[in-house]
């Protein structure tokens, strides 16, 4: 086998077999071939040329491995809190009319508490100006974050589905379970019923926050580590 090919194969060992990896592999291989051809045409021995070429690049991890990325932790948390604050505020405002049922009042109250707590934390982080604190970094594993994000969405959709179907089964199947039909006395009762279905959807802010947090991780990545 071509020694350059096997060298490049070994460089990429442990990296996922996807388009990005394969493209980079082909690019590096063709550049190494060009380098060897150039060196040998300059009078260098073939073996020596291969050694020089392979020594010129001894890792590709810094080009591909997006697994672990370093982020500005404080700035990241600050913006995440800002987004959380916004989401909670919107949810709080939207749930004000839901106070006509008991659960609605509870949820609305909890959201107000969340707004206050998050708001205070956000302000504290905003007003600490010490450089060391602002530039604090943190290494996070992108793969894990992505996995969490996926599972959070999955759990949330399951929760919504089960909750909604369960309610439908109890309310509209009451004829079967309790030989007693659901009664809606008027618009008020209808609203109460509708609220019962709408309430769990407020929890969408949890997966949305996860979504936002993984975008922010990319935004607050510490600059590229140039090698020279």
């Amino acid at each position: 086998m071509n020694p350059l090919q096997s060298y490049v194969d070994q460089l990429f060992k442990g990296h996922k077999d996807n388009k990005e990896t394969n493209d980079l592999k082909a690019e590096i291989l063709s550049n190494l071939e060009a380098k060897v051809a150039d060196l040998t045409s300059g009078g260098m021995e073939h073996k020596q040329a291969i050694r020089v070429a392979t020594e010129s690049i001894d890792s590709v991890d810094f080009l591909l491995d997006k697994g672990n990325i370093k982020i500005y932790f404080t700035r990241y948390v600050t913006e995440l809190l800002q987004i959380a604050l916004l989401y909670c505020l919107i949810a709080w405002i939207l749930t004000i009319p839901l106070r006509i049922v008991g659960e609605g009042t509870l949820l609305n109250g909890l959201l107000l508490i969340a707004v206050i707590v998050i708001g205070v934390l956000f302000l504290i982080l905003r007003f600490i100006k010490a450089n060391r604190f602002v530039n604090m970094t943190f290494i996070c594993d992108m793969e894990v974050v992505k996995r969490y994000r996926r599972s959070i969405w999955l759990i949330w959709s399951l929760f919504i589905t089960v909750w909604t179907l369960g309610n439908v089964a109890i309310d509209f199947g009451s004829n079967i379970w309790f030989s007693h039909q659901i009664k809606m006395g008027g618009p008020y009762q209808f609203a109460v019923l509708a609220i019962k279905y709408a309430l769990p959807f407020v929890s969408v802010i949890i997966p949305l926050l996860f979504q936002a947090s993984s975008k922010l991780i990319v935004k607050y990545e510490v600059g590229e580590r140039d090698e020279d």
Binding site: D23, L24, A26, E27, I28, L29, S30, N31, L32, E33, A34, K35, D38, S56, I57, S59, V60, F62, L63, E224, D226, E227, D228
Partner: protein, 111 residues
Amino acid sequence: MKENSISSDLIRGNIDTIILRVLFDGDNYGYEIIKAIAKKSNGKYELKEPSLYTSLKRLESNQLIQSYWGDESQGGRRKYYKVTAAGMETYQRNLADWKIARELIDKLLED
């Protein structure tokens, strides 16, 4: 050797612009870019492969350059790079910035 590493440090911040300048002369692929830079510097500066790939990746993700595969009949496929309109703009801006900085640094260091 020592001299070389000092100049690398000074050059590092401009590698992206240097590569843009090379691609300004025509589309090119990785190893030829290194060669072109070595030639332009009369062999005084040699861009290392890891820096080249890092820089190309950054330039491409910022859409300052575009890549396409060449159709070599022999050997591996070469990945060519081409400057985009945004790349040209960035190059002009960086060049202007550099001129200002150079003047300033000259003043600060010499006088």
